[in-house]
Symmetry: none
Subunit: 248 residues, 2 copies
Amino acid sequence: MHLRRDDPIPLYHQLAEELREQIESGQLEIGERIPSVMALTKQYRISPMTVRQALGELQRKGLLEVRRGIGTFVASPKITYNLLHLTSFTEDMVSQGLVTHNRLIHLALEMPTEYVAKQLKIPPDEQVVRIERLRYSGDVPILIDYSYLPGFLCPGLENEDMETNSLYALLEGRYRLALDHATHCLEATGANDYEAKLLGVPVGAPMVLVRGVAYLADNRPVEHFKSIYRADRYKFRWETARPLRHTP
Amino acid sequence: MHLRRDDPIPLYHQLAEELREQIESGQLEIGERIPSVMALTKQYRISPMTVRQALGELQRKGLLEVRRGIGTFVASPKITYNLLHLTSFTEDMVSQGLVTHNRLIHLALEMPTEYVAKQLKIPPDEQVVRIERLRYSGDVPILIDYSYLPGFLCPGLENEDMETNSLYALLEGRYRLALDHATHCLEATGANDYEAKLLGVPVGAPMVLVRGVAYLADNRPVEHFKSIYRADRYKFRWETARPLRHTP
DNA sequence: CAGTGGTCTAGACCACCTA
DNA sequence: AGGTGGTCTAGACCACTGC
């Protein structure tokens, strides 16, 4: 395996992906030492700083664990698994044997708010596709889901069937937009009139609000999302590993 | 101001701290552009890569915001919690450069409830240290923190100064209990009378409730914790390698 | 066009760890 | 002693932005 130098995707990210695949495929086992920085430098013919950028990325995501003066090791994969698990509503429902479906509330091409334009890093006069869906577990509405995507990235998306189709499957299949990573921000809030009505809870009922942005491998924003969960029907679980202390 | 080159603290961290102080003191205002990479390179007589390491650190912590081709700007500061790593509140605040202190509300050796004994995997007649603390960012109370630890693991902990000491630092330093991993469960809730009074918010105000257990490397439970955060002052942030939110 | 941040090079020295 | 990761240099080219 070698890296593509005439690719918009940075070398360090290509290397990080390569290592992640080796970890997830089991070529590199949990607790195993990965090749040293110098070894990777020679193997991929890139400079040490670039290797370290790749390792830093995986370290921050919890896939690698560094022991100074000894080496870099594959960390327990629980962390990433559960963090992904944390964000996957449908998967969570299915794994608990619950039937889930969506109700489309809104789907149109329109002008973004200032906030959304900033999140997507587009000019404020660039149109976005706005999607609003209500998502159920069985007959119980669990969350409201808002998505905003730059219109030029997915022309015609506003005419698709968003009730039965998965948005991400559409993006990857029809528009060849391979989502790569995402940021998330979680807070608690109370249901407003609109949310309370849709979800069938009292106004002010405790809700979990998750906002974030999904990106392509080259860091172009593809989607700004906002999800509002009923706190009485949904809990978030995860595990962490303690980071090793390093330099001050 | 100049950096100390014969200091164990890395240059990039010194620069990051320098910029952070300028932001917090108001020398650099929110939304203001900070000097460019080249300007900082010349000003502090360090190389561009080192400047970028400093900026990257502040960016990941949410203090800076980058607009490509334009410049780097001071972001509006928010307290965030990194879900990837198991850190204590104190460590988390300090790493973000925020001043924090605790008010001890309760500290004693006592009999556990059935629930706590089960969480800690100890017999119901085995005593636990119960700690209740109110924790501040500056002058603002942010959360109420309950900890329960098996008494035999940390004899004398009930006589320690829990107002100025970090619990995790004490456990690792004095008792040689190296925390390794933890489980967490998060939900949203409304403040009850007691919580509202302590935190100075209205009854029913949105709160984030996190419960869980911290373990040693051999899976012995060390601590059952329960933290109640003011949702208006504390947000939880994380990144995922692949966004699987809408997977069918 | 000039300025910005993003990426990358090909080395260097250091503190740390094992042996 | 020899290998490891951590830090740092002094440049380079690129894509993007605003003028």
